[in-house]
């Protein structure tokens, strides 16, 4: 499959302020990320809070300006613009909020919120809007009569579906799903994941699936990138990455996920991730890494192919046999 969305050496700085004398430096929330998402796949991004998952998503969307690097969409370089132009150019990329309840205006009926998106994208005819909204509500498994309800009348699962309907009306090619199952009950989560798969097949979508729930990512993603402190530390096909993780951080993350059989696998990871303002020299994971040696503190490992289609940024990557 050809690439639909890609990034090379993408760096994003947050919070830099120009002061009277000089500037206050920002933090690098995303630091040199290379990505290539193929059309039609579900690409997972996992990592702990503060690792830069959401900033990366916002930058790919064009809501946040990159400090350096390149973003490609459908083969064209789309980076380097101010955010208004960038957003217009990247209308094919849409974003589903982490908290769909908070993303809906409590004073607006659901139908009005859905119509607004259509109007902004040039569908102003009321009758046409109504038809498209009703169709889309059915597509996401909701009763079209729900268009006359207010957000607070909907359950968490219904709000997720409205969040999906809202962006699918805009006919995107790439959908960024930010924690699409956070806060959902298990049975509702299963239904939402199933719906996502159906919608992907029906509308020919590509998903960038941001999540910290490893069980879900393993289940739905084709390929996965693991982020730590603004960098991708490992990337590969989901089944290989989960079966034989090569980076020590990925191994710790997988070992920490609670399992149904109650088995604890491997030692736990000590401490919290360091602050983005004090990123360790060399490999940024080395202070928490059991395998670190003197070299790790000096030299930052590059993300290199350690087995076919599998990239790891570690001097001691456990290569697949």
């Amino acid at each position: 499959m050809p690439e639909i969305l890609g990034a090379a050496g993408l760096t994003v700085e947050l919070g830099a302020r120009r002061r009277l004398f000089g500037t206050r430096p920002g933090v690098r929330a995303v630091d040199g990320v290379d990505l290539s998402v193929a059309a039609g796949e579900t690409f997972g991004i996992v990592g702990e809070s503060g690792c830069g998952k959401t900033t990366l998503a916002r930058t790919l969307l064009g809501l946040q300006r990159e400090a350096s690097g390149e973003i490609r969409l459908g083969g064209l370089v789309v980076s380097g613009q101010d955010s208004a132009t960038a957003r217009r150019q990247r209308a094919a990329v849409q974003y589903v909020h982490q908290d769909p309840g908070a993303a809906l205006d409590p004073w607006w009926q659901v139908g009005a919120a859905l119509a607004e998106g259509l109007a902004i994208h040039g569908v102003t005819d009321r009758a046409e809007q109504r038809i498209r909204i009703a169709e889309m509500l059915v597509a996401v498994g909701l009763d079209p009569a729900l268009a006359n309800r207010y957000p607070h009348e909907l359950s968490g699962g219904q709000q997720r579906r409205i969040g999906l309907a809202r962006i699918l009306l805009l006919r995107p090619k790439v959908v960024i799903l930010d924690e699409p199952t956070a806060g959902l009950d298990l049975s509702v989560q299963a239904a939402v994941l199933r719906l996502l798969r159906e919608l992907r097949d029906r509308f020919g979508l590509t998903y960038l699936f941001i999540s910290h729930d490893l069980s879900v990512v393993r289940r739905v993603c084709d390929r996965v990138a693991v982020m730590y402190l603004g960098r991708v530390v490992e990337q590969g096909r989901a089944e290989t990455l989960f079966a034989a993780p090569q980076h020590p951080y990925t191994r710790a993350l997988l070992a920490a996920a609670p399992r149904l059989d109650g088995a604890a696998a491997g030692p736990s990871l000590p401490g919290d991730p360091p602050s983005l303002r004090a990123i360790p020299a060399g490999c940024r994971f080395h202070p928490r890494c059991a395998q670190a040696d003197a070299g790790c503190a000096r030299l930052e490992p590059a993300l290199v192919e350690t087995s076919p289609g599998h990239l790891t940024a570690c001097h001691h990557a456990r290569r697949a046999a």
Binding site: D185, L186, Q189, V216, A256, P258, L260, G262, S268, D272
Partner: protein, 319 residues
């Protein structure tokens, strides 16, 4: 240690009476851990509030008792278990007052509920901070909540729950707001502390993985009733109630095909008659809508509120 017997809780609402809990019976043995699992709206939080004696105003308790150390703490407010039951809240970010130091807010509770002088309390708290592995425990007393990370705040709250020497600790999804690596450490700490101090633990969660990591026994709640109870391993490995089976079948680690459970959890004001799960149940029989199924004992304290627990589920819903 703690035994909840036939507890029913009702709340009057504009749309009629909400039956939040209905004849819930469960117990936590001394030194034992019981997990309470269920989806949103199943009554987990109300159960916790009833045990902690903080049911909201306007709540009625038409039936049932909560026996703690032999006394009914529902009927007899004087026998109140304050101080003897520690509470670990869900959200470490919202549960600490930002304008008081960590020490000040925990010492305040100790002043009311723990014997001894302030000096004793301080020494004891520093000791607890060491036990929960906070870095630099003495200095932590004088720090403000924002100076701690999320995992450290949860450690702080665990120390607070233990400050008045409780016999029972009640935890309300204490790791949902945390990252998995932090969650794992907090769960390990909870296991270690409850074992070392011989504490009983009532642990509310919606995460079966967390449940498996912490609890010996489990009670599965559905729409205010206990659907199934037993040893955690037994329930997870061989769930018998159709609801438990279907719910575990939704778990991404186990699901053959992600389907979900058809329908939704009933509103507390409109609970179906008979078995609460019957409108969504693939094994439903005519009798299910009429009679409330009793708890049927299976092996080793495993009990299930479904007379058809031995029947296989139809193919697509198979756990």
């Amino acid at each position: 240690m703690l035994s909840v017997e036939g507890l029913s809780v009702r709340i009057g609402t504009g749309r009629g009476q909400a039956r939040i809990l209905d004849e819930v019976t469960l117990s936590v043995p001394r030194g034992g851990t019981l997990g309470v699992v269920g989806e949103s709206g199943c009554g987990k939080s109300t159960l916790l509030r009833a045990i902690l004696g903080i049911l909201p105003r306007g709540t009625q308790v038409p039936a049932g008792a909560i026996l703690f150390e032999g006394r009914d703490i529902l009927a007899d407010r004087a026998a109140s278990a304050r101080g003897r039951i520690g509470f670990i809240p869900q959200d470490p970010y919202l549960s600490l007052n930002p304008v008081f130091t960590a020490g000040a807010q925990i010492l305040e509770a100790m002043r009311h509920h723990a014997p001894g002088t302030r000096r004793d309390h301080k020494a004891k708290l520093a000791e607890l901070f060491r036990a929960v592995q906070l870095p630099d425990p003495e200095a932590a007393l004088d720090k403000y909540p924002h100076e701690f990370s999320g995992g450290q705040r949860q450690r702080l709250l665990i120390a607070a729950a233990l400050a008045c020497d409780p016999a029972l600790v009640v935890a309300d999804e204490p790791t949902t707001a945390l990252d998995v690596t932090t969650q794992r450490e907090i769960l390990a700490l909870l296991r270690q502390l409850t074992a070392a101090r011989g504490l009983s633990l009532l642990f509310v969660t919606h995460d079966f993985g967390v449940l498996a990591a912490v609890c010996e026994r489990v009670a599965v709640l559905y729409a205010g009733r206990v659907a199934e109870t037993g040893l955690t391993r037994a329930v997870l490995d061989d769930p018998r109630h159709p609801y438990t089976r279907m719910l575990l079948g939704c778990h991404p680690d186990r699901a053959v095909d992600l389907t979900g459970i058809p329908g939704t959890v009933p509103a507390a004001t409109a609970q179906p008659a008979g078995c609460r799960f019957h409108p969504r149940c693939p094994l439903v029989q005519p009798g299910c809508a009429r009679e409330v199924p009793p708890m049927l004992p299976l092996a080793e304290g495993h009990a299930v509120a479904c007379p058809f627990h031995a029947l296989p589920l139809p193919e697509p819903a198979l756990a």
